[in-house]
């Protein structure tokens, strides 16, 4: 990555679209440009709020030929757009002679070019990493677009990592914290997932995002549903990782471990962290194959594995890591059923168990399923996957 040399001093930025493209629906353009901004807010504390008028940080215009800044556009092809670094105002101009398109292989993809130009508006220069979004050349429509690590490092060197904020309340005596919604983008609803909300596994990544795996696909969760633009292919985001994962968790070392059958993989972010897969029996002595679920329990920071009607406790610092007194009956976890699908210590400090279309919130202090209204188990579809037609209750966020 390369930095131009300037950046915004504030993180809550505003933008307005002063001139829309002549051939696209305005509401669709609003949504695509919001999505383009969220490419950068996903990894930083930047927020982008659209205004319809008045002073903003970033002004966006679709123009043809000479348009007043001495750098005329050149018609279809060639230069697609350009933008100004923060020190020069941060505005972004797009060549309205291009065939801008949305979610289509025809024409030029508006989302990808806009995300690139907004990188300039935030202070990034062109990168010589060919797979980077900030490489200067348009590489065609990519339906499974992902920000390259080069771009993530670049934007975080300007605006820091995405941090978590405390918003107070919550049980179990722990300080709850929930990632703050960073763009005004509403969550999406995935009809297929709502129709069958059973999941393979659910885990938090090191940067605080929460992911759900099912089959070959994954979804990133927002505070009250799944993020727009999903599902995506697991193999594209975690190269080398198969689908149909049994269990996953992120440990204190920031590495994420995935389990399937008799094997496990270790990733650092979305990069495989060495030569994997390895045998579970080799890396997690005493833990069986074909797991149901795994989590790092907030009560003592140790790793718990679940299978059938039993559970194991794994302490990396101990020899052997699994005591002879394990496995123990899962019924020790009062109120949690056998044969669960997934388990998670969520970012609010609570521990959750999932099975079929239902989930339970566990009270670590009382060591039993929490009591609340509505009772547990609740509908995973409504509370976690944003399925509005699923059984109701109080809405999302910490109330999960």
């Amino acid at each position: 990555y390369a930095l131009q040399g300037s950046r915004w001093r504030v993180k809550n930025l505003t933008y307005k679209i002063s001139k829309y493209p002549s051939r696209l629906n305005r509401a669709e353009v609003d949504a695509e440009l919001a999505k383009a901004f969220s490419v950068w807010s996903d990894y930083t504390d930047l927020t982008f709020t659209q205004k319809r008028s008045g002073q903003v940080h970033i002004e966006i215009r679709f123009e043809k030929g000479e348009h007043g800044d001495g750098d005329p556009f050149d018609g279809p092809g060639g230069t697609l757009a350009h933008a100004y670094f923060p020190v020069y105002g941060g505005d972004a101009h797009f060549d309205d002679a291009e065939m801008w398109s949305i979610n289509s292989r025809r024409g030029t993809n508006l989302f990808q070019v806009a995300a690139h130009e907004f990188g300039h508006s935030l202070g990034l220069s062109h990168s010589d990493v060919r797979s980077a979004l900030m490489a200067p050349f348009y590489r065609g429509y990519d339906p499974a677009f992902q920000l390259d690590q080069d771009d993530v490092q670049g934007i975080q060197s300007l605006y820091g990592h995405k941090t978590q904020t405390d918003i107070g309340g919550g049980g179990g005596g722990l300080i709850p914290s929930v990632p703050r919604a960073t763009t005004q983008q509403p969550s999406a609803e995935d009809p297929a997932l709502c129709a069958d909300p059973r999941i393979d596994t659910i885990f938090n990544s090191a940067d605080g995002s929460t992911f759900v795996f099912k089959g070959d696909h994954y979804w990133r969760l927002t505070e009250d549903g799944v993020a727009a633009g999903y599902p995506r292919l697991i193999s594209r985001a975690w190269p080398g990782l198969p689908g149909n994962i049994d269990a996953a968790f992120t440990y204190k070392n920031g590495k994420t471990y995935f389990f399937k059958g008799s094997k496990y993989w270790r990733y650092n972010g979305q990069k495989m962290d060495g030569d994997y897969p390895k045998d579970i029996s080799e890396g997690f002595t005493g833990i069986p194959d074909n797991l149901d679920a795994a989590l790092v329990w907030s009560g003592n920071g140790k790793i718990y594995f679940y299978k059938g009607s039993k559970f194991w406790r794994f302490d990396p610092a101990q020899r052997p890591p699994v005591k002879a007194t394990y496995p123990k009956p899962l019924s020790n976890w009062d109120g949690i059923p056998d044969n669960i699908d997934a388990a998670l210590q969520y970012t609010n400090g609570y521990t959750y168990f999932f099975k079929g279309g239902s989930y339970w919130r566990f009270n670590d202090r009382l060591f039993s399923v929490d009591t609340d209204n509505p009772q547990f188990p609740r509908s995973t579809a409504f509370w976690w996957l944003g399925c509005s037609s699923a059984p109701r209750g109080t809405v999302g966020g910490n109330a999960r």
């Binding site: 750098d71 556009f73 697609l80 350009h82 030029t108 220069s125 200067p136």
Partner: protein, 89 residues
């Protein structure tokens, strides 16, 4: 005047491209300077572009380089900021 207009071949196009995206001094885009440029700066500019674009940095304006120059792209210069020789941190 029309007979004096330069024929706009690939070299001229490449010169404009290299000047537009920061590999050559913008002054070469000014017709009044008559596109006067020494060989070494031209070859260096081509090699810098080739290196930035992930091509072999030969300094020769070959087909692959021309093809890369014809791709649709962003209008912001590739070389910006201070200390150009340290463009990547």
């Amino acid at each position: 005047r029309s007979s004096a207009a330069p024929t706009f071949g690939t070299t001229d196009k490449a010169t404009m491209y290299l000047a537009q995206y920061g590999y050559l001094s913008p002054s070469v885009r000014n017709p009044s300077s008559g596109h006067i440029m020494d060989e070494s700066s031209w070859r260096r500019a081509i090699a810098e572009f080739q290196s930035f674009a992930g091509l072999n940095a030969t300094g020769e304006l070959d087909d692959q380089t021309n093809e890369m120059m014809s791709l649709p792209r962003c209008g912001v210069r590739d070389k910006v900021g201070f200390g150009e020789s340290r463009a990547k941190r």
